[in-house]
Symmetry: C2
Subunit: 328 residues, 2 copies
């Protein structure tokens, strides 16, 4: 199933999601901010896990979910991310490769175990993520395959990996390889990039023209620009990147290219079960359509349809064959 | 959450289910018999796993599912089964204890890994199970807690564990403890008990009066008695056990006590997604109601309602708080 020359390559967290439902009080009692992502130490993760109800496990990771989506949509994808040589790592690798995503990063046999994300889903289908990144943050430049990245049309980078120094350096080296080869660089923001200290470095990078396509949700766009109005944030960011895509949950999404804004509504679904992965799958739909040369309106539409599918069930990976969604 | 003195104690496989959907052809090409359970060597399991699509993982095991159901139904339960000291074992233990099932069996740190069951679900919601029992078959009599079993009202044993010698000896010792203490012995059949060589030993045991409550599905009842007619099988088996419960899928279930038959219809559900665990949850409903002193008709009804819930979603564990189902 694996494509010999993937069009889209991603660098991101290699994570197994550990999903439980909970009520609002569970979050309140632990001071967890609904909808957020925070990093946990292994001890903190063990304590939270012990409090959580019975769980189901599925492979996750933001950019990894996007590559799973690209493959399910009929595109060709590869993923670079660090697992450990353990049972959760085996599960992660299996789920990538059997979806048709090329995944060659060798597991580490020493150091932390494969990363996991403890996800609490409240009755309103919001997800609150508690990540113990484990091996994921050990990603080194040795994992980069120059020919793989150089041969692709798009390199997608994940903001969650921008925090820790080693994977950030790896991603910067990935950007260098991509730019030398004419491969476009896409970056998906995440809350963690918006915190003080990281924001300035990131804004400098996009001012230097290193990013071709920037994905953000509304909150992240506001935080990154330190603004309260979306209009201003869209203007500021779109002046720095050729393609800006901002998702707005139930309010749909907006894309900006060459100063022109295009908005699409969200696709209605019968029942929203778990919003985990909505943004990741939106990016999958957008990038797959873009690689087929489609207009920004059609790319946004494909993103909205892919996101709509993933929120109808638990887990951040596509639950069905999505290959007909892109060209609708 | 864990009850100090569980009413129902089970001995069974400690298994994590690894679930993927597949089409009919996938089963045909591999000669897999739909609806069956077969045992795999670790190599066979690795090969099948590599062919399966992306999976989701949830805790499983027949009697373990039943104890999870008892806890979700508001009953008090304990489980005895062998896990290894690995990530899947940690998941299994977590899912039992956070449901409120007492689970104290220490993991083994040498030998095979925690058992897993590769489950293929076809579009007709049938499940085909491929079990790599791993540590599960290492269960020794050292795991038996005499006070735990002696203090319970019911000891449930699982037919899948009847095949291998060591856990069979452990179960026989469990039966001895139960009978000395006035604890009823329930046994849930499984295909594996019906094969030549095992059948005679089992029939001898029930003739000796060691089993108080026997659960079987229609196929198992026919195979165990080597009959083609359900009527004859019900007569033959009910003469040997005080309480016989036979589940018949969409045709409901029948119970026989003191020669009198009681039948209940299946509970209709909007959409059957995955029938894995239907029999296990039926037993949970039945036993929980029985511990509350309810009539066989009400016990069968509680079983049918618990089974109906578990077939509406993937995985063999309850997807919701079932505590109102028993007394309906």
């Amino acid at each position: 199933m694996t494509s010999p020359k993937p069009e889209i390559v991603a660098i991101g967290d290699a994570i197994v999601d550990v999903i439980a439902t909970c009520d609002e009080r569970f979050l309140e009692e632990r001071g967890l901010q609904k909808g957020s992502m925070r990093l946990l130490t292994p001890d903190e993760a063990d304590r939270l896990y012990a409090d959580m109800g019975p769980t189901r496990e599925t492979s996750g990771g933001s950019a990894a979910n996007t590559m799973a989506g690209v493959a399910a949509l009929g595109g060709s994808a590869a993923f670079i991310g660090q697992i450990a040589a353990d049972q959760l790592g085996t599960i992660f690798a299996h789920d990538m490769t059997t979806l048709g995503v090329r995944f060659d990063t060798p597991p580490i046999s020493e150091g932390p175990p494969t990363g996991r994300c403890l996800i609490l889903v409240t009755p309103d289908a919001q997800r609150t993520m508690n990540t113990c990144p484990g091996a994921s943050h050990e990603l080194s430049a040795a994992a980069l395959d120059e020919r793989l990245i150089g041969g692709a049309s798009v390199l997608l980078l994940e903001g969650y990996l921008w925090g820790p120094e080693r994977p950030r350096a790896t991603m910067l080296q990935g950007i260098d390889i991509a730019r030398r080869s004419g491969c476009k660089v896409a970056f998906t923001l995440s809350e963690s990039i918006c915190i003080a200290g990281r924001r300035d470095g990131f804004l400098n990078m996009i001012e230097q023209g290193s990013i071709d396509i920037l994905f953000a949700n509304e909150d992240e766009a506001l935080q990154l620009t330190a603004r309260a109005d979306l209009d201003g944030a869209l203007d500021e960011l779109s002046a720095k990147v050729p393609t800006l895509v901002v998702t707005r949950g139930a309010a749909g999404a907006v894309g900006v290219e060459q100063g022109a804004r295009t908005a699409v509504p969200a696709v209605q679904v019968e029942r929203v079960v778990d919003t985990t992965g909505a943004g990741d799958l939106f990016a999958a739909g957008f990038l797959t359509a873009r690689c087929r040369g489609q207009s920004i309106e059609r790319c946004l539409g494909a993103g909205a349809r892919a996101a709509a599918e993933v929120i109808t069930h638990f887990g951040a990976r596509p639950g069905a064959d999505l290959s007909k969604l892109v060209d609708q």
